[in-house]
Amino acid sequence: MNELKGGIIPSKTGIRETIIDLIEKSVDKGIFDAVIIPMKVPSGDSFVYVLVKDKKLLKDGFPLAPTMLVQGAKAVSSVTRLGKGNMKIAAIIRPCEARATVELAKLGQADLDNVTIISIDCPGVLPTSDFLEDPDKYLKKFDDAYKNWDDKIMRPVCQICDKSSMVTGDLHIGTLGAKKDTCFIISNSEKGDSVAEKLDINLNQNLDSWNSKVKAISEEKKKKRIKAHKELKSTVSGLDNLVETFSQCINCHNCMRVCPVCICRLCYFDSDKVKHTAEDYLTRAESKGSMRFLPDTTLFQMGRMMHMSISCVSCGNCEDACSMDIPVGQIFSMIADETQALFDYVSGRSLDEPIPLVAYKKEELHQMEDAND
């Protein structure tokens, strides 16, 4: 882990304007050629990521949008999957999106050579369905909640997120613990250092107040997380409970498609391997007297969990997109904690840390050996 260095920049008019200002200056100085940044859609009731080159358009940028419909990692991957191109790009995304971006880079789905990831202390993000009820009202609610760092209206996974200030990109805007009308700008890499230097930002400031505030919030969230997971576990543990939890699932696979780390072009569970003959289906139905059709709903969920939980960043986009309101984000996030803990792995923590599936360590999983004694 790199040592974090930070500077302090003025932030009089609000964090969104501060970031836009910073980006505009950077584009002016040629530090970046283009920026991936959220923007309000023409109908005013949603936010999307836009790759912006025109400075005039930058003014409409809306960092720290109240909703996260497209996971920022998907946006970065869309631009850089096939190569790094000639443009120097800044991506203004949330910590969980930055983590997912790092995971995607490891999976060959994003080239970060020309990308500078800029994250920001995140208060959470609203459930989309709430926001769509009354966009203006909920935007105001979000901004109020942001001021007080109050997560009650945020996604369930956001409410128990202990990594909302995790720094894994190049730069990070720290609003917590900052003196009035200022915020921290923290560098985590040489790229970040270079940007700060070109912007004449001194990175030798004391980050103690940010560090301690972040630590305090993280610990409090961690306690909530443990409690929430304990409760959740009791409702989904055991095959009966599991099947019951996913009984309303219609296998639309929305969760899989909005997930930043589900990258397969053709998912195993959409492939020929799960397609069988009428005779096979009938035989199977006969063994129990009736069979839900299509069968294997839970198999899809468990299979997806097995494939991606090692890289899950607990963003909750899956739950947001679920057409049947199944708490899939909370469940997957809970299991992901445990899967990653098995390997002392935190997804997206570092580009240099290989994904456990393809990393062999001799000293690993000894608890499995002992279990057989």
């Binding site: 998907k74 096939l82 219609i250 289906y281 009938l282």
Partner: protein, 369 residues
């Protein structure tokens, strides 16, 4: 005149009696219909082989968790049914299945199709928030009177295709005031007659009440006009489309639940549709910014082009959209206008070729002029 079977049972009981008879007599090895499948009564399609399991079946429940036409395609895609199976499908599900069969994505071999004169379904929201149960009594009242229940999917309210075309048996529901006491099964085909002939009940010759059904159709048409006007206003050129699809996140859920979308790997998910860095650079030279991932409207227009001719307006796409875009409304309107160009009704006749692959010399003469 069609042969019809009448049972002195309510619709709810009558259909179950019939299905029980089908299984117990061995006329079919399995029955495909809606069923309560879990402790908390989630409703899903089920393939039932043991008549005892029918007790949880709810064949005419106004929900469509998945378009059953798509399910029938999956059931018969790798190989047709070798043993007889009866399937209860709603008219649009049946039409979707027929359209898929035309594209080699399924077969009717050994299948008996039972459909109904359909009163429409609730959006799946009502299953999620458990309001479906509460809305049921009002729903059935509307069905009996031949009125449009206010709780239906938008496209159901505007649907004129509520009478199935090619079912072996059609159950009389919409506009039938008598469904609390009697069940009427129209036996449209020889297959349907053979299936029902050993059932204990009253057989007669009966016709659909055309007049009544036309009155219902008028109401539906009025709703359709309202729907088209509303969505038409929003679909004002490219700007209108950009507004409507502004919230679209490219999840492709609409495509995945659509009965007609059957490609293994959608064109818009294949490497062909990916933007390379130079594509982005070129686009940015032309305009100041580009949404990422790009191609939102392109996807929808593309999908319209590919499947619009066969859209049966079932409304699954509306239900699955995580950002509440009225995809079904748009596709119904545009789909219908494409279909009208060829006088084509998707799913009406399995022998009728899809216009895309059929050439008629006398066609589009107006374009020549």
């Amino acid at each position: 005149m069609t042969k019809a079977l009448k049972l002195n049972k309510s619709a709810e009981e009558g259909i179950l009696e019939f299905l029980k008879y089908l299984l117990e007599s061995g006329k079919v090895k399995g029955v495909f219909t809606l069923k309560r499948i879990s402790k908390n009564s989630a409703i899903a399609y089920s393939l039932i082989t043991n008549p005892d399991e029918l007790k949880d079946a709810v064949p005419f429940y106004p929900l469509m968790p998945v378009n059953a036409g798509k399910l029938m395609s999956r059931f018969t895609l790798k190989e047709g049914a070798k043993k007889p199976v009866a399937a209860i499908l709603k008219p649009c599900e049946l039409r979707g299945f027929i359209e898929l069969i035309k594209r080699e994505q399924g077969t009717l071999d050994n299948l008996y199709i039972i459909s109904s004169i359909c009163g429409g379904v609730f959006p799946s929201r009502t299953e999620v928030d458990r309001s479906a149960e509460k809305k049921l009594p009002k729903y059935w009242e509307s069905v009996k009177k031949g009125e449009i229940s206010p709780d239906l999917r938008s496209v159901c309210k505007a649907c004129e295709e509520f009478i199935p075309y090619t079912a072996d048996i059609t159950f009389d529901l919409l506009g039938n005031n008598d469904i609390d006491k009697h069940s009427i099964f129209y036996l449209n085909t020889k297959k349907g007659e053979d299936l029902a002939k050993d059932m204990k009940g009253d057989f007669s010759e009966k016709e659909f009440d055309r007049k009544k059904l036309e009155k219902i159709n008028e109401k539906r048409q009025a709703e359709k006009k309202k729907l088209y006007d509303e969505i038409g206003k929003k679909m004002n050129g490219i700007d209108g489309l950009v507004e409507i699809f502004g919230r679209c996140i490219g999840c492709h859920g609409c495509s995945k639940v659509c009965p007609i979308c059957y490609c293994k790997l959608c064109e818009f998910e294949s490497p062909d549709s990916e933007y390379s860095p130079s594509n982005y650079e070129t686009e940015l030279r032309k305009r100041g910014g580009i949404k990422v991932p790009p191609g939102t409207i392109y996807f929808h227009l593309g999908r319209l082009t590919h499947i619009g001719i066969s859209c049966v307006a079932c409304g699954q796409c509306n239900d699955v959209c995580p950002v509440d875009i009225p995809v079904a409304d748009i596709f119904k309107k545009v789909g219908e206008s494409i279909q009208k160009m060829f006088d084509y009704v998707p799913g009406k006749d399995v022998e009728e070729e899809i216009p895309l692959v059929s050439f008629k010399q006398e066609e589009f003469a107006e374009i020549e002029e």
